[in-house]
């Protein structure tokens, strides 16, 4: 979703894929886009460009602190907590609806959820395992 704003239609598929592998936030793909178009300087400018707008949240948080104790504000936040969950479900849905995700993909998703739920296995290891399963199943 974030990538949509940064990448062109043609780059979009590739953006999603690299974004889903790479560490850190999704939108970081724009940094590699910056690197390809403007070298190290391009990458650095892209990094600046994506890290500054989110900092506006500090202004929002400051105004929020002033009205935090109002019952209506607290009510609004309880409403937004519900939206947060719905947004996550929409993201999960979008990922699972991608071409290339079939019934076996749903099994992999379930397995990854189960392994993550145990809290004993490193997330990175789960993803490596999933890659391995993908290789064995889909090659």
């Amino acid at each position: 979703m974030i990538a949509r704003r940064w990448a062109t239609e043609a780059d979009f598929g590739r953006a999603i894929v690299v974004g889903q592998m790479s560490p850190g936030p999704n939108g970081l793909w724009v940094i590699s886009l910056g690197y390809f178009t403007g070298g190290i300087l391009g990458a650095f400018l892209a990094l600046l460009a994506i890290s500054v707008p989110p900092l506006l949240v500090l202004v929002i948080a400051r105004s929020y602190a002033r009205i935090e104790r109002w019952p209506r504000t607290q009510g609004a936040m309880h409403g937004v907590s519900i939206a947060v969950l719905a947004l996550l479900i929409a993201v999960i849905w979008t990922i699972l609806r991608q071409p290339g995700v079939d019934a076996r993909g749903l099994l992999i998703a379930t397995g990854a959820f189960g392994l993550a739920l145990t809290r004993k296995i490193n997330i990175l290891l789960i993803l490596v395992l999933a890659g391995l399963v993908g290789y064995l199943v889909y090659r």
């Binding site: 974030i2 999704n26 506006l56 500090l58 309880h78 719905a86 996550l88 993201v91 998703a109 290789y135």
Partner: protein, 206 residues
């Protein structure tokens, strides 16, 4: 319900965020889960309720929500310096790796091995995201005590409804967040707090 463990120093904070940035392959999904695990479950510097509140504020900010929530957590734990070390710690290592991966990917894009492996990794990120969602759902259920017994039920109706609006009717994210906030001001505002049993007792004694 506020988390009260002593906050970390700037270097420790930088190290923690860099660790999250380096480990969280799989796009933002695992980043979010690792943040929840590190700051809430392992260190106890935040409660899930506080984190949900910070994350909700981030939905109102432009750009990447994960950078915004990193800044807010950094601020809470280390002030202005906390913001700088947290955001830099998250972004610099992971941005470097992203660059390398993108460069490699252009070469390996059409390799059958890479494509098959990715078909495994992509649904796995969705599976991890489900756990993130479960973590976010917990405060909604616990809130029956503070807001009202019916709040979890209201959530159980509204969550699928909002999700459907996003998925099937292509309603924009911001429209969902704003209407959820409006609904909240109308229906989820807490009533005047009831005095706690301990307070009543104290008052009785004095």
């Amino acid at each position: 319900m506020s988390a009260s463990r002593p906050a970390p120093g700037a270097w420790r904070l930088l190290g923690i965020w860099a660790g999250i940035g380096l480990q969280s392959f799989g796009g933002g999904t695992s980043t979010l889960l690792l943040i929840q695990r590190t700051f809430i479950e392992r260190r106890g510097w935040l409660t899930m309720e506080e984190f949900t509140q910070l994350w909700s504020l981030c939905l109102l900010a432009p750009g990447m929500n994960l950078v915004a929530v990193t800044a807010l957590i950094g601020k809470r734990l280390g002030g202005t310096r906390g913001i700088a070390v947290s955001v830099a710690g998250l972004l610099l290592p992971s941005a470097t790796i992203t660059c390398l991966l993108a460069a490699l990917f252009v070469r390996a894009e059409h390799s059958a091995v890479v494509q098959a492996a990715l078909r495994g990794v992509v649904p796995a990120t969705a599976g991890i995201m489900i756990l993130v969602a479960v973590n976010f759902a917990r405060p909604l259920i616990r809130a029956r005590v503070t807001i009202g017994r019916w709040y979890p039920w209201a959530s159980a109706v509204l969550v699928p409804l909002f999700a459907l609006a996003l998925i099937a009717w292509n309603v924009s994210t911001i429209a969902i967040v704003v209407s959820a906030a409006l609904l909240g001001t109308l229906f989820f505002a807490p009533r005047a707090p009831r005095p706690l049993a301990a307070d009543i007792q104290k008052r009785g004694e004095s």
